[in-house]
Subunit: 235 residues, 4 copies
């Protein structure tokens, strides 16, 4: 593909074009403290084209012209922006696309995710909080109910981000009902059927992680506090 | 009513039109972390027309065109936006309109509300904090005084939001002086005579919930701290 | 003065005109959580004219047209905006104008101020923190040094805000070096020679109050932590 | 140099011109709470010209016209804005320019920096957190790895900011791998090869300082929490 054609892949006046959306969402994530210091990453799929933010750049200052584009089938880059490096998250994004048919994948360094990974061992679970209902069941249609338990696996970090691929895929296989994987001392990967679903899942999960951290600070067990005998039921 | 007429119910250049205000206020609430992950809801009444934000959408990205409109008398929808679901909060908003003649009702997933519901049992009370004076007495004209106690009932959550209706109405009846009800492990419902009063009450209450959480973190009893012998009086 | 003339007192294209500045600063204070739920207040003096924000309104939504204007000499209102009530803070603002020749006075319901008032008894003191250097000595020219102690008196709250006047004036007299007074379970009053100095003092004080709250949460004594034998000196 | 020529040093339509960038970045830092109450400072080098924000002004309200310009070789001011004082940080910025060939130097009063300086003694260290990878090795090419330890020296504060120069230079010499120095009870100095690197380093360090404070609040040792036997390795 000629360079001019490659550039056309990321040039659009449509604010919902992946190259534009990635920039807009990263500004939002930056303001939430999730991708400061060049941390984190994001990828959106459009048909067989995968748009990926570059590595090591200020996520809140990216332009559509900075985006990599990869063909999902061939795994070849259709567009490589000048002077930029591909994201080390790319194999992990591909794991979500391939194993879960995701439409987008978000990776943040959210402090809530890092803290939870230091407070919980192999999985993070939370139950009986209304916000859980924003998350999908996945193994069957529909969303989690209030009395359901949300379970997110925690994998160990590796020296190189791309080396997370095997354990991430293992977690995806071991936990077919999860739409996210926590990486200890690192952050979180969240994906969804569309970019908006991935964004909503990431928001809802971060809300729950933050709440669980605060409950720990207050000495309140997430599943056994006041009103629990009347208000919680594990089904 | 023809579809064209129904659309005219939500089309206005007036920023204070309910369909416009709902969008503006939800962006504000989103920035406060009260309605992230599609959580929360809001409804404004204009005469006999009730404007209601739809279910399961990103609250900060709504457009006036997304609003449901219901007739308060007949409980029939005057307008149903395409492809959107009515809010599960609708019966709860109606409870505030019917039992309290409210002009607006706000529902958030504020973490302060959820935390307080896990720290207090059947009611949240706070006294002798200046911010209390932003809240109305309701059972008589005027506002609470500094030495008054603010009391907000806490009801248990249910699997389906609409099933909160009975206990919410019960709380409204049992606590005629309250302008809000906390829902354990869920959030808060706040209403007011006008949308601006509902907004101010919600802000003032969230300030007090946040303060009570911080006092708990610091080990300071809300009603018995330094200066209390000189500064607190229960009347 | 005719009504037309009175309106001209608050109509200006100059962003630094007191009626405009009050609106701008209150939006900033609102975003800091200092004046939510209609809380707080502000007044700016221009010559003998005192501009005062009204009582009980949303501070972030005020317009220049909402401002009261009072003559400092005669204490008579030169302008009374329609349907609005004068701020109950007015006698307290006057105390700062009269006793300290202030150019502006800011009142907030900052949670840091309320928390500190429940952690300290009659005065809040903090020493050996660089931010202290933003505050004036007042009893002599210049600013506090790093090794100086900042002392802010705490007065008891009253049922009616205007009744704080006597104890506020007493504190102003008893603490000639202070540019602020904390009100227990209520908030803080901060004044300065100009509106910008008042704004800077308020910001620097709130920073120090917040820091002192965090130190308490961490169990670190403000004046006796790591490095203190090398780094603190009371002069 | 004539005054007209001096003014031309800070007048540019290029948003990346140092005089413009200083203003933009300080607004960002202000919103992060790092330079409130006139605290903090920043300097950017362009060739042999050093641009420095003035002392004692509101950092979020500066204009390009407020900037000092100094010649790095001669240490003479090429431009002195009217009625403004040079920053007391100037000798410290020069220490970074001279000893490290920095392209920019940022100084903040970040509360995370002050808190960490009261929780750690002579150095702050943190290891095995992904965000560390945003920081350079300096003593060899490339960036820190996940299993590396970030070490930032802490120096004692002095009565006058310019008197920090000797201990700052000592720390720079003693810790050739550091790109920042913490000042106890004061804040932090961070520099980098370019202004963007300095900004990214400052963000990444503040993220790590904030995380370390939160771990302390939660009672979690930064280097010995859940998963540590599997996930941490000191190399």
């Amino acid at each position: 593909m000629s360079n001019a054609n490659a550039d056309s892949l990321v040039a659009s006046h449509d604010p919902n074009h992946p190259a534009n959306l990635i920039c807009e969402l990263c500004r939002l994530f930056y303001n939430n403290g999730w991708v400061t210091g060049t941390g984190g990453g994001i990828s959106i799929r459009k048909g067989d084209h995968i748009f990926i933010a570059p590595s090591g750049v200020q996520k809140e200052r990216m332009l559509p012209d900075n985006m990599f584009v990869m063909d999902l089938e061939t795994k070849e880059y259709l567009r490589v922006p000048k002077s930029l490096k591909p994201s080390a998250c790319t194999p992990l994004f591909l794991a979500a696309y391939t194993n879960r048919n995701a439409g987008a994948c978000i990776h943040t360094h959210s402090q809530n995710a890092v803290l939870i990974s230091l407070l919980y061992d192999k999985v993070f679970t939370i139950a009986n909080i209304e916000q859980i209902k924003a998350l999908p069941k996945l193994t069957e249609p529909g969303y989690l109910g209030f009395f359901d338990t949300l379970t997110i696996p925690i994998i160990e970090n590796t020296a190189h981000e791309e080396d997370l691929k095997d354990s991430l895929e293992q977690a995806i296989n071991d936990y077919p009902a999860t739409t996210a994987v926590l990486v200890r001392r690192h952050g979180i990967y969240v994906w969804g059927e569309t970019v908006w679903k991935a964004k909503v899942y990431n928001e809802a999960i971060d809300y729950l992680l933050e709440l669980a951290v605060k409950l720990r600070q207050l000495g309140v067990p997430p599943d056994g506090a006041i009103g629990s005998e009347r208000n919680t039921r594990v089904v």
